[in-house]
Amino acid sequence: MRVPLQWLREYVDPALDTHAVADRLTMTGTKVEAIHHHGVGALENFVVGRVLEADQHPNADRLSVCVVDVGADSLYQIVCGAPNVAAGQTVAVAKPGAVMPDGSKLGKAKLRGIESNGMILAEDELAIGTEHAGIMVLATDGLVPGTPLEGVLPIATDVLELEITSNRPDCLGIYGVAREVHAATGAALAPPPWNEDSGTAGAVQGASITVKCPDLCPRFTARVFEDVKIGPSPPWLKAQLMAAGQRPISNVVDITNYVMLLTSQPLHAFDLDRVEGATLTVRRAHDGEQIDTLDGQTRTLDSDMVLIEDAAGPTSIAGVMGGARSEVGADTTRVLMEAANWDGANIHRTSLKLGLRSEASGRFEKQLQPEQAMEAQAVSTRLMIELCGARLVPGTIDVGGEGPPPKTIALRDARVRRLLGVDIPHERSAEILKALGFKAAWAHDGLEVTVPPFRRGDVTREVDLIEEVARIDGLEKLPATLPSRHGASGRLTVRQRLRRHAADALTAQGLHEIVGWSFAHPDLADRLRLAVDDERRNAVALENPISTDVSRLRTTVLGSLLDVARHNRARGAGTLRLFEAGAVYLPTEPGPLPREPYYAGALLAGAAHPPSWRDPQPRPVDFFAAKGVLQGLMDALRADWRLERAAEPFLHPGRAARILVAGMPAGWVGEVHPLVAAQWDLRDTVAAFELDLDAVPEPQIALYRELSEFPDVREDIAVVVPDHVTAAQLLALVRHAGGRLLADAQVFDVYRDPERLGEGNVSLALRLTYRAGDRTLTDEEVAERREAIADAVADQMGGRIRAS
């Protein structure tokens, strides 16, 4: 909302400069988003002038060479292009050095060989109107050449651009803002401009209104004016509208806009002679009923929308937009001035459904109050009479009347103190509330406060009053204390610590965390080659995505990892070590909300280790690189986990595994299928995993285990087994056969040689560690276990121990 300061100062004039006023408004809740300057600058160069001579320019048909008296015995020669310039006129003059509304500075100029010292001004050149056909000719009475123009026309003002919060529709009018300035600064507030009303109550001859839906139209008021003379508005009115950002059109239309900007209540002027039957009916539309609106479109309504019709049919969509048929025009002589009150929520829905917003609907939807309708009528009546020569037909049509009686709310001193943490004496509270238009009476524990109609929607409870008092008294006076807490203490949950721990374990292995989009492209499932019945195809879909490529929610974090890998590869990154931890979104049936398990995914590409002068070409990552990162993560979380071979459509079929945590499936690890990786322009091996972190149990408290004082016995053996035996199977068997004394067994080499080992065999070298907690093991004890292992391998796997 734009508030020209010169307009504001008609009602409240604090002895403060623009910035100080802005600061007070901001600090009391009416945020000033910007301070603009409207109009001209270097005001000393704008004066009243009198045209003494106006002669034809020798070299240009359309120019006149004028001699202008600009006061102080100065005569300026000015070349003027206006057709209406003539000797004897009193005019507005800009002298060289003047700053025009667009910021340009006026200099001396030569026009077709003749020197020109300034400009004789048209309205639009001062930004106080839109007229450009000719110069402004000022009324001569009492205006002496040289008089500063500033005192004659509103040619310059600061304009505050305010953010009016949705709870304060009363501040969508200049007077409402003036009331705020009054309360915030203590400067005197002029009486409301609607205090004097020359209108009368009672029926109006020759016009009638019927409201068939009073629930949606709490009040409808109308007055009738005759002998209206349509014409341009006076300069002051045009200037106010221009500064407030509205284009002047004609006096009647300008009056409706001016009154709206002053009171916040929209009005509508009907040409009464074009209202068929001189009667208006407010009713719900029929489903499918159509109406042509002022913007030239045909709108289709439904029965929750309200329209206004005359005897010939609908003329406007109530509170949103009028119709062309009854619009005021140049030949209008009888005006029906409407100021109505509408149900805000209904106007909001109507404007939403129709996709049609107007200045009026934007105000009505914030819920104006019925009293404001008559305030607007009072101001417009005065202006219609003054500016249009109109005659008010006695009476006022008023359907619905005023709103409910004002509410009185107790404001308890103790409650003020408890909520704010500081005392505000109730004398001070009363002063503030009165300045804001409330009535306040003493009560034994505070105040009895009566809410004015224009704050009826916003202030309904004690807490609302406390806010009023606090914001005007000044929040800067509040103490800075900490809550007493009453024993409450803060900590992370075990699950939250586990998530932090997981992220730390991944960064410790050199992985950078990324934060990807929760959104996914609908074709992601295809690009990942997911089967038609894969659950991960079943993604949450958005009704109104910002674009199709982000119209789903992700069911895997692999998509964002691949996206980020491609982004970085395109910018020259060779080695990529990335992870993401966050929710995926899995629709559930039944149940309204999707499941949102917390996943951790990692992606590796490029070298497994950084290259150096000693190892210039480190090997690239592969399955085991990803498994290593996964192992680091699982070790950090002390999880009971293992892998088993399993296929994923987006993974290398021979290099893919399922992650089992405590025996339950919890994710996958593998090399991304080359055809999948290629879709993200990744041509080398990409290894990745994804783990449902929610499936990892919270770690148990670790209990102390005794450190053995006796030495371990270590020995290496090579076991030849058929190729189909997995390392995990072999180790399980060895551990079982090794019994209690076998403390550890690890694979440290894998060897294939058909000639020496036989076709279809593999040799796995194992490092065995034997230990007893209570003694030093003897060679015989170890040999016994080794034989047990050899027997088990031979019997159960058809394998053998190779000579070591």
Binding site: T26, G29, K31, T165, N167, R168, G344, A345, H348, L352, L419, L420, G421, V422, V463, D464, I466, E467, A470, R471, L475, L478, A480, T481, P483, H486, A488, G490, R491, L492, R500, L506, T507, A508, Q509, G510, H512, E513, V515, G516, W517, S518, F519, V540, L542, E543, N544, P545, I546, N568, L576, R577, A583, Y585, P592, L593, H609, P610, S612, W613
Partner: protein
């Protein structure tokens, strides 16, 4: 005979001293003390000497042998030390060559770092960390937070709804939460007062420019107790601002309007790039635009209407009261670290990720 012994000893001592390396010394040892050398032979044959010479010769030969053995050991040590020195010298490296690569250091994303930093400040102030679903109902996202049915945030232009959505005013319609505030309601439904929580998480709004992305992160706070005041809100946020932006910071509360708080405020922190809007070199501060203050969050006292939705769980607005606040985690991160464009945080360019943490 003793003269001969003396002669051998002198000769051997010279040879020991002259041995240039361990190998030469070993030859010397064999020459003078080996099985076939003169001195051991002499000792072996002492018994055959005349009795008068026997004692003197034996003693002299024995002394000579011991002396030579000692001399050889000593020389051996010298030579070994010298040879080690030589070998170490040969092992010299160019110390300016690059080190072995350290294991790469990974970083938490700046959003995560900032989230943890804020969480930790509030944990220190006695708050717990609460979480909730990102897909929400209209009820939790708007209705129970006292949003009027006319509030523009409810529109499809401001909120992502799930397919299919027939009516955005249906309380059970599904949407992506536009703030983490629904968790306030969920937390109060599950826990009676007092409650002190912060709520981090992803939120969604249909915007996309340098300061808005359709997905971003919020940190909300909620404190409800018998006596929480607006002054407590100011003190809590002052503590937060100083912990995150530096000990010199001030905060100021500006009145504002939010549906779920009353009174409502916007909170500014004093600029940490300038003094009262002017930088050290006299320029208008680009960070605070010359204002001296930077808006960081919205806050207020929880509106009694919000408590009405959870009244049965101990939240009688006559008995309890509280404050709530909400901030954008990205905004805090961008302000603190000077990141110019929010979208960069979602590009995840490794060159950016490496810069923080």
């Amino acid at each position: 005979m003793t003269d001969r012994i003396a002669h051998i000893r002198a000769e051997a001592e010279n040879a020991i001293a002259g041995a240039g390396d361990t190998e030469a010394l070993e030859s010397v040892r064999i020459q003078y003390l080996g099985r076939k050398a003169d001195l051991p032979n002499l000792l072996r044959n002492v018994a055959e000497l005349p009795a008068a010479e026997r004692a003197a010769t034996g003693k002299a030969a024995n002394e000579a042998r011991k002396a030579l053995e000692a001399a050889i050991d000593q020389r051996a040590e010298q030579l070994a030390a010298a040879e080690l020195d030589q070998r170490l010298e040969r092992d010299r490296v160019d110390v300016t060559l690059p080190a072995d690569p350290v294991p790469a250091t990974g970083r938490l994303h700046l959003i995560t770092q900032t989230q943890r930093e804020i969480e930790d400040v509030f944990i220190g102030l006695g708050f717990n960390v609460a979480e909730g679903p990102e897909v929400e109902t209209v009820y939790y996202n708007f209705d129970a937070l006292n949003f009027e049915s006319t509030h523009p945030s409810r529109l499809m232009s401001d909120t992502f709804y799930l397919q299919p959505t027939e009516d955005i005013f249906d309380t059970s319609a599904l949407l992506l939460r536009v703030h983490t505030s629904p968790v306030q309601i969920r937390a109060m439904e599950s826990q009676a007062p007092p409650i002190y929580i912060v709520i981090p998480g992803r939120v969604y709004r249909p915007d996309n420019d340098a300061t808005h992305t359709p997905q971003f992160h919020q940190m909300e706070g909620l404190a409800v107790d018998t006596d929480i005041s607006l002054g407590d809100l100011q003190g809590t946020l002052l503590t937060f601002a100083r912990a995150v932006f530096g000990d010199e910071r001030q905060v100021r509360l500006r009145p504002h309007f939010f549906p779920f708080t009353e009174p409502s405020v916007e909170v500014d922190v004093s600029c940490f790039n300038c003094k009262t809007g002017v930088t050290a070199d006299g320029q208008r501060c680009p960070l605070c635009k010359g204002e001296g203050w930077i808006e960081i969050l919205g806050a207020g006292m929880v509106d009694p209407n919000v408590f009405e939705y959870v009244r049965d769980n101990g939240y009688d607005p006559e008995q309890i009261q509280g404050f709530a606040f909400g901030m954008g985690i990205e905004r805090i991160a961008m302000l603190k670290h000077g990141v110019p464009d929010l979208r960069m945080l979602y590009d995840n360019d490794v060159r950016l990720l490496e810069q923080f943490g």
